[in-house]
Symmetry: C2
Subunit: 216 residues, 2 copies
């Protein structure tokens, strides 16, 4: 039996994405926590596993390692097809990938802990400036994301139709992050409605940061 | 006949990625330039096409729009299969997506023009500080990328075996960007070798920023 290890941090929203996908697929895994705020991800033993020293990374007992949350999610979807996390048609898949990447490329990376730390250390940003930066980049993308979701006939109970998938996973993890910086979610009723629909589902509940073994 | 329009900016490295993929697939398209430095992408007519106001976006004459470069590339690969831009096996696909996302999530977004402009406007960063920021985030990811490429038996002439694909597309576009900020590429011999192999291929040559109609 192949063991799967998820290198992880409870508060990392990219880790949260992968936890939701694993829970939706019903895949058992061992949880290994790396405390990002204490630099646990830069330990030599972890760099030997994932040279990038970031979480999440999924590692199989045969030695295979996949890093980058969306690459992991697509691999899980291709190898454990039920329930599907992407639609079966190319146009639908493109739309879900677009919505996912709006969050995964245009919000998360620029608001990541290492960026916020650099703003503090290099440019003397205080808590107020860091929170403004965070909210600015969320709003820059949540405004068009809300518009696309509100106007598209392909939006259903979830981002794409009435079954949850990869875009919903990204959305939920981002909204959880936003809460720490007081993003005004009343501006985004459709995003909020989809988030609430997800949070009624057990995989989303179980994967939440507060439920993880390293939660503070 | 469906017309395809690529909303584009010659110097945008995400646009460059999509131009390479279109050229590799032999897909004809109409080039529409948006001058990012002059805010051309924020024009109301363009926001009606792509609410996010970013390039690239690919628009079909039947009204379909796909934004986000990796979503576009995967759509092209699914609908015009030859030559393939991703491997056929899930593990290989995961590796190519991981390598692509290391660049597309962890380098490009934090070094994008809008971020550098914010560093200048909000934190008073000068040219030196902006260049340091740019190089820092390139090096943070190029170091592990070089290590993964150098040590993996799956690396060939290109990032994954001996045929060029999505990871090479991301790599070439990022190296082109790096040149504007004097990143020391002697630190990355494998990345440099792969980049040079790509630049012998006509689609990579034709898609280069200097060859585009809006090049300055």
């Amino acid at each position: 039996m192949t063991e799967i290890v998820l290198h992880n941090y409870f508060r990392s929203s990219t880790s949260y994405r992968v936890r939701i996908a694993l829970a939706m697929k019903g895949i058992e895994y061992r949880y290994v926590a790396h405390h990002l705020r204490h630099g646990g991800n830069r330990a030599p033993e972890y760099l030997a596993v994932n040279p990038q020293g970031l979480v999440p990374a999924l590692v199989w007992s045969d030695g295979r390692m996949i890093a980058q949350s969306l690459a992991i999610i697509e691999f899980l979807d291709e190898t454990v097809p039920q329930p599907p996390l992407l639609p079966s048609d190319p146009a639908g898949r493109a739309r879900v990938r677009m919505l996912s990447q709006m969050i995964a490329c245009d919000i998360h990376p620029v608001n990541n802990l290492r960026i916020l730390n650099m703003l503090r250390g290099r440019f003397g940003a205080d808590d107020t400036a860091v929170a403004e930066w965070f909210r600015h980049w969320v709003n820059e993308t949540f405004e068009p994301l809300e518009k696309i979701l509100a106007e598209s006939p392909e939006t259903g109970i979830f981002c794409h139709g009435d079954t949850p998938g990869m875009a919903d996973i990204c959305l939920v993890a981002q909204v959880a992050n936003n809460a720490r910086f007081n993003v005004d979610m009343s501006l985004y009723p459709v995003i909020g409605r989809i988030r609430d629909a997800c949070m009624e589902l057990q995989p989303f509940i179980d994967a939440a940061p507060a439920r993880q073994p390293d939660a503070e």
